[in-house]
């Protein structure tokens, strides 16, 4: 994680009554050294959802991913049930789920390509085309909207210089609208890759973007 401090610890950002560190709130101290993208005995995929660095050409289901795939299959009585976790792994590795990846998954799980496509397109978390290093999802549903989510969305679009759903020229940001992220008490909630930013106001946006840029540089 980046050392760049950020004033917005999520969860209780604006209350001023908050005496926990961000690490404690997010449970990072509890999860510990657990590999971000590692198999877990009880979790189907532990999908980081989006790694900053991804490779659209990465080989699917080799090495560690092969191990995880095998582990996933043991958790369900039917092979087909592994479809969602497996698609998640594809996205983790490649950043999006291309038609070609879907065909590969179909082959692996003995399903028809059309079936896999039908399922993959049903779920919003699978990116059907490449997105920026940081996928910014601003919740604009009712609770956030009542507290100014539209302005937060506008601020993200302006600061990144992008149109809704388009990726910035440098490949850093894609900004989209999200449906309720279940953090309604802490509006506006913004999910960036796998992390929630809560209590976000338009004024916070430049700071958050800077935080992400520094983080990307450190990780990359």
């Amino acid at each position: 994680m980046s050392d760049v401090p950020i004033k917005n610890p999520g969860w209780a950002g604006n209350t001023g009554e908050f005496d926990l560190t961000e690490e404690q709130v997010r449970g990072e101290d509890f999860i510990g050294e657990r590999p971000l993208h590692g198999g877990h005995s009880s979790v189907s995929a532990t999908m980081p959802y989006m790694l900053i660095e991804r490779n659209p050409e990465a080989e699917l289901f080799e090495g560690e991913y092969q191990e995880r795939f095998k582990k996933i299959l043991t958790r369900y009585p039917k092979k087909r049930a592994a479809l969602l976790p497996v698609l998640s792994m594809v996205q983790e590795l490649r950043g999006h789920v291309s038609p070609e990846s879907m065909d590969r998954v179909a082959e692996l799980l003995d399903l028809s390509p059309a079936y896999v496509r039908g399922v993959a397109t049903f779920y919003t978390m699978y990116n059907k085309r490449p997105v920026g290093r940081h996928l910014v999802q601003v919740c604009t549903n009712i609770s956030c909207n009542l507290c100014g989510a539209d302005e937060v969305l506008a601020a993200f679009l302006e600061s990144t210089g992008t149109e809704l759903g388009e990726t910035s020229g440098d490949g850093d940001f894609t900004v989209i609208e999200a449906e309720c992220l279940a953090a309604c008490g802490f509006p506006t909630c913004v999910q960036i890759n796998s992390r929630y930013f809560e209590n976000v106001t338009p004024a916070d946006v430049p700071e958050i973007l800077e935080h992400l840029r520094v983080q990307a540089k450190e990780d990359g």
Partner: protein
């Protein structure tokens, strides 16, 4: 430790350790009496566990409010096929944010509840279907489940009793409809999350074609407390028909939004004015949605009369749902918010049933037209007529959820719509 905004009115049964990061650790949880309820349950017959939950009067916290003990008793008593317990952690009803807190602050409470529930319905496998966006929560849950496996609370021969229960944390991939119980089952099987026609009910033909029970996170989190302290104990709070405590997620225009655990039957106006510190900026209360975006909204007058339990909400023409209280002040742009909600449902409709697929998109288009000043008064009649045909005509209740905010807002806040329509007409004439 400060969980932001704690109120003296609260009765913290399941939210006691919110804000305490040490409580995720299994050692701390056990030291504080954790897994004692599991021990107690495993020493009983499964049916005795179900009876205790029945005695508590606990009702499902996911929205429908069906009595949990009775739901469990529908499961076959002599299993000839595998049984499954599904924990619905796909929290995605706009306004609801309780399950995330329950899972990330007290994961073992949920795991213990899942184990007891599974034992009661004779299931050997629990799937916790957690929404995919909850990355942190998934990690915390996963670690907690692993810790519980290591200590022998989950897996084969639990605590030397010969009972075997496995737990898998399964991640969704972003679809509201997977929070509907049969949609969740479809999704868990690797299919599109399309709801199924009932009957057959899940207790007969559920996930993977086997008898299954689905419970909400909050429901299962309460179970250890009921087993440990007895069903009667739980009835000291709440009302005769809605016993116990409930997490209320308050969002919108209040000074102190957040999760508050209160006895059922708590007056809505006290929740807003006292517990949550009143309306922000000294504004006036305009409307409240007491149970998440799928229930009818009520005006300030009804809000003052409303008692927050399953029956009290029905009396003022709405529903408790999952107790997600969305508060709007007099400056709120009501029509825009209704349109935003309908947009959401139009996006999340799975598309199986025509009234829902076509109706939600059409409703959204009309509402947008009104919002932009292009509407007519006839549009309101069309909306009423159309949404009427969307109730009870589909496989699941997503369609009904579109109708609820539209119909209730038109009947209670018609003036808001008319104002937009009139100002549009004037602008057109000029």
């Amino acid at each position: 430790m400060a969980y932001p905004y704690v109120s003296n009115a609260e009765v913290r049964v399941i939210s006691q350790y919110f804000g305490d990061p040490t409580h995720r650790r299994i050692d701390t949880y056990v030291k504080r009496g954790g897994y004692k309820a599991l021990e107690k349950a495993l020493a009983l017959e499964p049916d005795a566990v179900t009876e205790e939950v029945k005695a508590s009067g606990l009702r499902g916290r996911g929205g429908a409010g069906f009595p949990t003990g009775i739901k469990w008793s529908f499961m076959p008593k002599k299993p000839t096929r595998p049984h499954y317990l599904l924990c619905n952690a796909d929290e995605s009803e706009p306004g609801t944010f309780k399950d995330r807190e329950l899972m990330r602050w007290d994961p073992h409470q949920l795991i213990e509840g899942c184990l007891i529930g599974a034992y009661a319905i004779r299931a050997q496998h629990v799937y916790i279907y957690c929404r995919g966006e909850f990355f942190e929560v998934n990690q915390i849950l996963a670690k907690a489940v692993e810790d519980a496996y290591m200590k022998g609370y989950v897996g084969e021969d639990i605590l030397g009793t010969g009972t075997t229960i496995d737990i898998t944390v399964h991640q969704g991939a972003g679809a509201y409809i997977c929070g509907e119980e049969t949609g969740l089952m479809s999704s868990l099987e690797g299919d599109r999350g399309e709801p199924r026609v009932k009957p057959p009910f899940p207790a007969a033909v559920g996930v993977f074609g086997m008898p299954s029970t689905i419970n909400n996170v909050e429901t299962l989190a309460v179970v250890p407390h009921i087993i440990l302290n007895g069903g009667e104990w739980y009835r000291q709070w709440g009302t005769e028909k809605s016993p116990g405590t409930k997490l209320f997620c308050v969002s919108g225009h209040v000074r102190k939004p957040g999760n508050y655990e209160l006895p059922l039957g708590f007056p809505l106006i006290d929740l807003i004015d006292d517990v949550c510190g009143g309306i922000r900026d000294g504004n006036q209360l305009k409307a409240v949605i007491p149970g998440g975006s799928s229930v009818p909204l009520i005006n300030a007058e009804d809000a003052r009369k409303c008692e927050l339990d399953y029956e009290g909400c029905v009396e003022v023409g709405t529903m408790l749902g999952c107790a997600s209280v969305i508060v709007m002040d007099h400056k709120a742009d009501l029509v825009k918010q209704i349109r935003r909600m309908v947009d959401f449902y139009a996006h999340e409709s799975c598309g199986q049933c025509t009234p829902c697929r076509e109706g939600s998109a059409w409703t959204a288009r009309i509402l947008r037209r009104i919002e932009e000043g292009q509407g007519t008064e006839e549009d309101l009649d069309t909306l009423m007529e159309m949404t009427e045909q969307m109730v009870g005509t589909t496989i699941c209740v997503l369609s009904d959820s579109v109708a609820a905010p539209v119909q209730s807002s038109i009947s209670k806040f018609r003036e808001d719509y008319l104002e937009l329509i009139r100002s549009g007409e004037q602008a057109g004439a000029a």
